[in-house]
């Protein structure tokens, strides 16, 4: 298979969703069924193509590249050569990611056909799904920072559009704005990072930058700048992957339709940040990687603790997503490159499944509540659920499989990837002494198992509160169940490695290998081989430990919520401070509200005061000053503008002096006595004039001199008109007499 065909197929995959978007946004409403079949089938074609590319690519060692110059300004003065290349790269990383994106997107399309049925903006919803897939594929396929940034912003845009899909709801509109703005904060960092790199290397291409770096070139000749660039680019990932401290937008993003949460806020868009770290991994210095690892660990811990106390099923899943993203980031940060990316892939499958499963539950709850004309009960609150196991068997079974996967139970894909990440952190701890990271890692693993089983038990086990309601709950339609089954199947180990306890031997580890670092040796992280060695040693303890904590977590959940051995409410009451703290999400929203929003408001108020008082005061002062000058020496003057009076008088005197002096000097470059006398006279005149102005006001001058002149001319014309009117009798014979007289006068004059 020639590489050219693969490149072509990849470009087709990239452009197909865009075509779907364009057709649906313009003609969606006119198409039969509002065009949902079109979006879905286009994505299905893209999925087939991406699987084809994926299989073909794994057989080729080298990565495929295609790029073309987009704009070339040539040699710009003061800047140097300025040229932007666009292009795509198809390597194992992007081939895998492409399949993940297309697969999740296709299944979400399919699921949405059921879930979104009868929605007000049905066709627009599918169009937005298309533009999202397109922008995500740009990020996946690009070979340069420029397109990466474009895709980055486009993903932010489509996320904004989809979160605010039900914009009539204020909370949804607010959430979409919040997501957009919080993401923008991270993007500024990313932009700055890209600019640092561009300033030094004069190119946006990943490979070109890495090649230049491997020859020892670093930004501004300092390794610190390289670390800064790495951390700044990671800022983009902090925003998009909802890492601490910019994680606050993701839980609110659950205001969007649930399939969107599955597609964007669980499986793909938030994974873009992780993908970005994977792409830029070679240029990360040891310090930058440590920063990344700690950010991931802190994020994982904070969100896992919050997830325990939440009652909204989607909120719990949102925090678990943040927590798992923290895992991936942490994995990449400690140097477990393959493990981190592996966790991204497996997590995409089971988290998309979890969200779609919760969507299925919410859909059923919503319809049951709607049937009972109950508009007060929250269909997303897990405390209102329970006992759905029998009514929704497929949803339950698949949900259970996802939960087992995310908790890291053997035989699932999550076990493989999570174990690999944890082994990586343990190895990092033993190599560098940062033991806090593995400790947080294992703690979060236990917490994850606990809160995930908490929602499974509260949703599916036990008895339903309302017996009338449970009768109305049914399994969701086929289009919704099918994606659940596919994701559940893909949550098993066999798709990634044939060895159920170790992923090392599987195709994934073969396909995705940690790239060589290109940063100077002095700031490099632990070398891959030494790290592999440490991971190898850490593997068995990590696996044992993770099994123990996951088992404890699951056991704790069952003890608390199923067998009721531990009373959760009593515990919550006993530790009411901690519980309230967690329930309110560590008060991050309140903190940001006070510091960022309040700070902005404070600065704005200050500026408003400045504008109102100083700027407007100046403008109004000028106006009243002019007014005073115009209307002359009247009461207004007397009372208010004594200072201004003197100022005006003196100012005009000095002005006249300067004007006359400069005029004199213009006439005679060498000042003579006469010029001084002239200047004195001029100034005196101008002073007198000024006094006249001051006394009568400029209005007086205008009134008497200017108006007098104009009116005088008018009167003169009028008077002469009156005089000559007498002569103009209209009697021709009189005119002839005048002519006769005139001729006679002339005759005697020129005789």
């Amino acid at each position: 298979m020639s590489p050219f065909v693969l490149i072509q197929a990849s470009i087709d995959i990239l452009l197909l969703p865009l075509v779907g978007f364009l057709i649906l946004i313009f003609f969606g409403k006119k198409l039969p069924r509002q065009g949902d079949w079109l979006g879905t089938s286009i994505l299905f074609i893209a999925l087939s193509l991406s699987i084809f590319v994926f299989i073909q690519k794994l057989g080729i060692e080298e990565s495929l590249m295609f790029s073309f110059p987009w704009v070339d300004f040539g040699n710009v003065p003061l800047i140097g050569s300025l040229r932007i290349d666009l292009g795509i790269t198809v390597d194992n990383l992007s081939a895998i990611m492409m399949v993940v994106v297309c697969l999740v997107s296709t299944l979400v399309h399919l699921f949405s056909m059921g879930y979104m049925q009868g929605d007000v903006r049905y066709s627009r919803y599918f169009a937005y799904l298309g533009i999202f897939t397109f922008s995500m594929l740009i990020i996946v396929l690009t070979n340069n920072f420029f397109m990466m940034y474009v895709g980055w912003e486009l993903v932010g845009l489509s996320s904004y559009l989809l979160i605010g899909h039900w914009y009539e709801k204020k909370s949804a509109a607010d959430a979409s704005k919040k997501a957009f703005i919080v993401n923008r904060i991270g993007d500024i960092g990313m932009f700055t990072g890209i600019m640092i790199l561009y300033y030094t290397f004069r190119t946006f291409g990943f490979n070109e930058i890495f090649e230049a770096m491997s020859t020892g070139k670093v930004p501004m000749g300092s390794e610190a700048w390289l670390t800064a660039a790495g951390i700044l680019i990671f800022c983009g990932a902090i925003g998009k992957s909802a890492q601490f401290p910019l994680h606050v937008w993701l839980p609110d993003a659950m205001e969007g339709p649930t399939p969107v949460s599955a597609l964007i806020h669980a499986a793909t868009m938030v994974a873009a940040g992780v993908y970005l770290i994977a792409r830029t991994f070679p240029m990360m210095t040891a310090d930058a990687l440590m920063f990344i690892a700690y950010t991931g660990a802190i994020t994982a811990f904070i969100s896992a603790t919050i997830a325990i106390a939440q009652n909204d099923i989607k909120k719990v899943l949102a925090y678990s997503t943040i927590s798992q993203l923290g895992y991936m980031v942490m994995g990449l940060g400690v140097g477990a490159y393959t493990a981190g990316f592996f966790h991204l892939t497996t997590h995409a499958m089971f988290k998309a499944g979890l969200f779609l499963g919760s969507g299925s539950v919410i859909y059923a709850m919503h319809h049951a509540l709607h049937h009972a004309h109950d508009h007060h009960t929250d269909p997303q609150d897990i405390r209102n659920m329970g006992g759905l196991k029998k009514k929704m068997p497929i949803t339950f079974l698949t949900f259970l499989i996802y939960t087992l996967a995310i908790s890291g139970v053997p035989l699932t894909s999550g076990f493989l990837s999570k174990d690999a990440v944890l082994a990586g952190t343990l190895a990092y701890g033993s190599l560098t002494g940062h033991y806090l990271i593995p400790i947080i890692g294992f703690l979060v693993a236990g917490l994850t198992a606990f809160y995930m089983f908490r929602i499974v038990i509260l949703t599916f086990f036990g008895d339903h509160k309302d017996h009338h309601r449970i009768d109305q709950i049914h399994e969701s339609p086929m289009t919704m169940v099918l994606p659940l089954i596919v994701f559940a199947v893909l949550s098993f180990f066999a798709f990634y490695s044939f060895n159920p306890i170790e992923a090392d031997g599987g195709w994934f580890y073969h396909a995705v290998e940690r790239p060589e670092s290109v940063v100077p040796l002095s700031v490099q992280a632990t070398h891959a081989e030494a790290f592999e060695e440490a991971v190898h040693h850490a593997h068995v303890p990590a696996m044992t430990l993770s099994l123990i904590v996951a088992g404890l977590g699951i056991l704790g959940a069952f003890a608390t919520y199923h067998w009721k051995k531990i009373n959760a409410d009593a515990w919550a009451a006993r530790m009411s401070g901690v519980h309230t703290f967690l329930l309110n999400k560590w008060y991050f929203d309140e903190l940001y509200g006070a510091v960022v929003v309040g700070g902005t408001m404070g600065i704005t108020n200050m500026l408003r005061w400045f504008d109102n008082t100083i700027i407007d005061g100046l403008v109004n002062g000028t106006a009243s000053w002019t007014r005073a000058v115009v209307f002359g020496y009247n009461d207004h003057w007397k009372e208010k503008h004594v200072g201004a009076k003197i100022f005006l008088l003196g100012g005009l005197f000095v002005g006249g002096l300067v004007a006359v002096l400069s005029y004199q000097w213009l006439l005679s470059p060498l000042p003579t006595i006469m010029s001084y006398v002239g200047a004195g006279t001029g100034a005196l005149c101008s002073g007198l004039l000024t006094f006249f102005f001051f006394w009568s006001g400029a209005g007086g001058f205008d009134k008497y001199v200017v108006d007098g002149l104009v009116n005088g001319i008018a009167y003169f014309s009028g008077f002469s008109g009156l005089l000559f009117k007498k002569l103009q009798t209209g009697k021709v014979q009189t005119y002839i007499v005048f002519v006769l007289v005139g001729v006679m006068v002339l005759f005697f004059m020129f005789r």
Binding site: G730, K731, V732, Q733, I736, V737, L740
Partner: protein, 102 residues
């Protein structure tokens, strides 16, 4: 007594004066026109006299013929105007025809 240029000029001057007097004093439009006619003919006499005594060929006579033709045309147009004025204002008194002044 030999009739010379002076005699012609005196006749012409008298004729011009009578014509001018008629134009200036008469109120009747027809009479004004007749005065103009006299002025034109006094000019004719001058042309022919200067032509005859000035040693020229027939230049003056040619001018005179042109003026006679023009006078005829002028009289036709002017009489038509006067006729119209009479139809509209029922008078040919030039002083009373002052509608445009108002």
């Amino acid at each position: 007594m030999q009739v010379g240029l002076t005699h012609y000029l005196i006749v012409s001057a008298l004729l011009f004066s009578f014509g001018l007097f008629a134009v200036v004093t008469r109120r009747n439009a027809i009479l004004v026109l007749m005065g103009i006619e006299l002025i034109l003919n006094s000019a004719n006499i001058n042309f022919i006299a200067f032509s005859r005594y000035g040693g020229m060929k027939l230049d003056g006579q040619a001018f005179a013929v042109f003026i006679i033709i023009l006078a005829a045309a002028e009289a036709a147009v002017a009489l038509a105007i006067v006729l119209n004025i009479y139809q509209r204002f029922n008078t040919v008194n030039v002083d009373e025809v002052s509608k445009l002044k108002e």
